[in-house]
Structures are given as structure tokens and as C-alpha cells.
């Protein structure tokens, strides 16, 4: 099993000009990114929506790769989104799933059927043309060039070590440095979108 920080560190060199929706990986990605204005850390507006948000970006900007760091808790709330993504077939969409098997921010309670779910199989069944699952960092890292250099949509489930938070929300480290409005403004400016 890998650590989320190591997983994201392995992806960072391949990011290039991609838009990144860091989702639950945001607190690690912020220390790795070299293109902050192409990062879209919107926090957690409503759980289950990161895949849809990233899909929307990918459809709006087919000229840019969009990399999403989703989580299994999120996608379990929106499994139907996989079907929509597969139907749309966005060639610029790279869907990484950070699977720690639990709701880490609420104390580590397991997600339903945590140890038995094969998310790559679900994605393939939904119609993703390519889907992978990794639990070891070396295998994950070795396959990244192939994953990111071919067209999407592609789904990559990565089994990671749970990092459970039990501190009251008000006492947790706030890693966000920009408000949501600013994040969207920075992205649109970077993309040359007139306000």
C-alpha cells in the first residue's frame, strides 16, 4: 500500500500544463504543484461532486489535460457519474482515485464493503476504455508514463494508507491558501477567459 503523498509526488513530474482538481489530495498537492493557477482546490462543496466538476472542466477545455484526484468515499456517492464520463469520452480526462478504504476525516470508519470493492472493475464496467488498480508505489510509478501519455478517459484506483483525522475540525491544519472565488478567478485568468 502506498502513501497519498508519495502517489502524488510520482504524478507531479508528468503534470505539465494540465488542470489539476486535487480533491482529497489537496493538502499534499499544494506542496508539490508548480502551476498553482492551474490547480482547482475547491475544498468540499458537496461530497460526491469532484468527478462531475472535473468532467465539466474537461468538456469545457478539451485543449487541456484535466487530472482529478478523487476519493472512494466521493465516488461511492456518485457511481452514476462514471457512466456519464464514459459516455462523454473526454480524451483529456485522467481520473485518479485515492482509496484509503475509510472516511478518514470523520475518524476512519470504513466505507461500505471497503475491502471487497474493485473500483477499476466498476469503471471498466461503466465504459471507461482503460482502468487500472495499484496498491504498490513502484508499479504505480512504472505505469504512469503509459497512463498519462495515452488519451483518456482513464481511471486509476490507488490503494493508500489511511491517514485518519480525529482532531475537531476547527483545530485541523488549514492548507488552503486561496478562497474558492480566488481559485476560480485564477484559473479563468490562466485560461484566458474574459470575466
Amino acid at each position: 500500500m502506498m502513501h497519498t503523498a508519495d502517489m502524488l509526488k510520482a504524478i507531479a513530474p508528468y503534470r505539465e500544463e494540465a488542470i489539476v482538481v486535487p480533491g482529497r489530495g489537496g493538502r499534499y498537492w499544494i506542496d508539490l504543484t508548480t502551476r498553482q493557477n492551474l490547480d482547482v482546490p475547491v475544498g468540499d462543496p458537496a461530497m460526491g461532486g469532484h468527478a462531475g466538476f472535473a468532467l465539466g472542466l474537461a468538456l469545457a477545455r478539451p485543449d487541456k489535460k484535466v487530472i482529478l484526484f478523487d476519493s472512494e468515499g466521493d465516488i461511492l456517492m456518485s457511481l452514476g457519474m462514471l457512466v456519464t464520463i464514459a459516455e462523454q469520452q473526454p480524451a483529456n480526462f485522467y481520473h485518479f482515485l485515492i482509496d484509503n478504504g475509510c472516511y478518514a476525516t470523520t475518524g476512519g470508519q470504513p466505507v461500505p464493503n471497503a475491502d471487497q470493492v474493485a473500483y477499476d472493475v466498476i469503471a471498466r464496467g461503466a465504459g471507461y476504455p482503460r482502468a487500472f488498480a495499484f496498491s504498490e508505489l513502484d508499479q504505480f510509478s512504472a505505469n504512469l508514463p503509459d497512463i498519462l501519455n495515452k488519451p483518456g478517459p482513464v481511471f486509476v484506483a490507488a490503494k493508500v494508507v489511511p491517514e485518519i483525522e480525529n482532531a475537531p475540525i476547527g483545530r485541523r491544519r488549514r492548507w488552503q491558501t486561496r478562497a474558492r472565488d480566488q481559485v476560480i478567478k485564477d484559473l479563468r485568468k490562466e485560461l484566458g477567459i474574459e470575466e
Partner: protein, 172 residues
């Protein structure tokens, strides 16, 4: 032609409003009366249809489309809007998304006496969320759709168009 057909909101009119207001993507889930509109939208090359399997998904997709510079329209039924509450709150209101939602008003009756709780709670729901809305019943009401688009842009908020003619307007 019966009276209902004379006053109905035609799907051609709805499509015309979409084009007039520069819609690029329609994020939608069909309801029982939208098939004719679907066929028109499908044939319209300037629109991309993004079908969802649950209405709440439309909110986050629309938020991403908008952030990326596209102009989405959400087309759903009021039952689905009710189900979408948290996504609407977080993704549309939370990210200040200027989007119009065309919402089929299932159960709506002009005399105000309805037998469908979907209608009972529709406007109460919108008022609770502080989302402005316009009712359209016929082609004569079509300018309200453009008003909704203009308001969404001006206020950077979602605005709803309730389609009160759902039961005859979109089918033939």
C-alpha cells in the same frame, strides 16, 4: 388544434432561447415529457448534451463547465431538483455559478390546488435556498428565459425557470 396546443410552450421556442443565450452544453436528465425537445437538441450542432443519471450530478458538472468558460444549462424535473439540494447548495451557490436551470414543474396547476407533493414543495424549496425563479407556461412567456440568463450572469447565481406547461409543451 386544442386550447392546450395553442398556448403551449413549444420545444422549438425553448431551443431558440438556448441558442439565443449562447448555451454550449445542456446537462440533463429526461423527464416524462421532454422527448421532443431531446430530439431537437440532439440535432442542434451547437449544443453538446451531457446526460446524467441523477440530477445532483448536473450541479457539479455545470460548475466545472462554467469555470472552464463554457455556458451550461441544466434541464431537469422538480423532483430531481428537490433531490439535488446539497449539490445545488455546494456546487452552484457555493461557487457562484451563473447558470439557468429549466425545471419541469411536475404537478403544477394554475388554480393552485394540486395533488402532487412535488409541486407543493417546489417553490418553497427555491425560496428556502434564496434562488430566484420565473414561471413559463407558453411561448408568450419565452422572454422570461432570457431574463433568467441575464439575471444569472449579473448576480453570479443560479436562476430557475419553472416550466409550468410540462404536461403538454414538450411532447407531440
Amino acid at each position: 388544434m386544442n386550447d392546450a396546443a395553442v398556448v403551449a410552450l413549444s420545444p422549438e421556442t425553448v431551443l431558440g432561447e438556448m441558442k439565443k443565450n449562447g448555451v454550449t452544453h445542456v446537462v440533463w436528465l429526461p423527464d416524462s415529457e421532454t422527448n421532443w425537445l431531446y430530439l431537437l437538441m440532439k440535432a442542434e450542432l451547437s449544443l453538446r448534451l451531457v446526460g446524467v443519471s441523477r440530477e445532483g450530478h448536473a450541479c457539479s458538472i455545470a460548475a466545472g463547465l462554467s469555470a472552464g468558460g463554457a455556458k451550461p444549462l441544466i434541464l431537469i424535473q422538480n423532483t430531481g431538483m428537490l433531490e439535488s439540494g446539497d449539490s445545488l447548495r455546494g456546487w452552484l451557490l457555493g461557487l457562484n455559478v451563473p447558470v439557468v436551470l429549466m425545471v419541469g414543474y411536475r404537478g403544477w396547476t394554475r388554480h393552485g390546488i394540486n395533488q402532487d407533493s412535488a409541486a407543493t414543495y417546489t417553490e418553497r424549496f427555491l425560496m428556502a435556498f434564496g434562488i430566484n425563479y420565473y414561471l413559463v407556461e407558453s411561448d408568450a412567456d419565452a422572454p422570461r428565459v432570457t431574463i433568467a440568463f441575464e439575471e444569472a450572469e449579473r448576480t453570479r447565481r443560479p436562476v430557475v425557470v419553472l416550466v409550468g406547461d410540462e404536461y403538454h409543451g414538450f411532447n407531440r
